[in-house]
């Protein structure tokens, strides 16, 4: 059995249902997590379109300089440290659920 990270990113106030508004990735597809700007951290995933060069990307927005905390919390979720659940909700923006302290937004980029 695999563990999964769940993200939603509705572009408006309606329920997320469009392309790049919902995504779930197996944790084994995480390739790296790195700072992208002062207030964003990027998670790279193995691309779902089968190419080798266009990675799927989820970008989390957080407080200035808070990357280390976000990375630590993400790894904790990847390793299901707290609840041993295979289904980890990282961001459910529609319901204002962000399970990493300080994260306020999520963006999904997926080529297919």
């Amino acid at each position: 059995m695999e563990r999964y990270l769940y993200f939603t990113n509705p572009n408006d106030t309606s329920a997320p249902d469009a392309t790049q508004e919902l995504a779930m990735y197996p944790t084994s597809s995480v390739t790296a997590i790195f700072a992208a700007s002062a207030t964003t951290t990027t998670i790279n995933f193995v691309p779902r379109d089968g190419t080798t060069t266009t990675e799927d990307v989820v970008t989390l927005t957080h407080a200035d300089g808070d990357h280390k905390n976000v990375m630590g919390a993400l790894v904790s979720m990847i390793n299901a440290e707290k609840n041993n659940s295979p289904f980890q909700v990282v961001s459910d923006k529609e319901k204002s659920i962000f399970n990493i302290s300080g994260v306020t937004a999520c963006a999904i980029t997926s080529a297919d």
Partner: protein, 226 residues
């Protein structure tokens, strides 16, 4: 991955993640009218900054000021202990120094520094300044010179080029390489599965340097994302 035990208890295999952060933070207690603050050099950051827009410069005033601060900052009047961020027009770079414009030269964006003011200069995070790599994506640890050892991870974006962590250390006929290799082996195989959090290998500005890297005398660390 999951091990299904005979007892129907599920144990999730956990992955070590290695955390690296380039050193890019320095604080100075200023002298009166000081304008230049050295950030580049072997004793300073892990990387050399080439543009003032790569850094954030903050001034924390020792005393209240009414004539030394440009109008862009709290209308030109600041309180004791107040911290302002110098805007891009108020700072520049001169080779290895960040230069804060004098208020007399720029009444809007300049600040005339007083003795005891605290100047904090920090690297603005961008791709490559801070990263977390999967231990199981490690491809190799190899030396590229007598003072450089490189950790290569499979590219996180699928590119042919790898993600790299470049370590600078003294030359002692390969002894440092062995220490670093031992350390990498140790952290990749560290049995911290129950903790499940990141392993901070290098976060110099927060005084975190992995034991093996410290033993090897590593002085600088650079991250490059493919």
């Amino acid at each position: 991955m999951l091990l299904h035990l005979l007892t129907n208890t599920y144990i999730y295999m956990k992955t070590n993640f290695l955390y690296f952060r380039e050193n890019g933070y320095q604080q100075y207690t200023a002298t009166d009218t000081q304008t230049n603050f050295t950030i580049n050099g072997d004793a300073n950051w892990d990387l050399d900054v080439s543009a003032d827009t790569e850094v954030k410069v903050e001034v924390t005033f020792l005393e209240a000021q009414t004539t030394k601060c440009g109008s862009a900052y709290s209308g030109g009047e600041v309180d004791a202990g107040e911290t302002v961020t110098v805007n891009n027009t108020g700072k520049s770079i001169s080779t290895n120094d960040i230069v804060i414009a004098n208020q007399g030269a720029d009444g809007t964006n300049g600040i005339t520094i007083s003795a005891g003011d605290i100047i904090t200069i920090s690297l603005i995070p961008v791709e490559g300044t801070e990263a977390c790599f999967r231990a199981d994506k490690l491809l190799a640890v190899n030396s590229t010179s007598d003072t450089i050892t490189v950790l290569k991870f499979k590219a996180s974006n699928g590119a042919a080029a790898d993600d790299t962590v470049t370590l600078t250390h003294p030359d002692n006929d390969g002894a440092e390489f062995k220490l670093i290799a031992d350390y990498v082996n140790e952290v990749c195989n560290a049995n911290i599965a129950e903790r499940g959090n990141v392993i901070a290998c290098w976060d110099k500005q927060n005084n975190v340097i992995g034991r093996g890297l410290a033993k090897a005398g590593v002085t600088k660390m650079r991250v490059a994302i493919a």
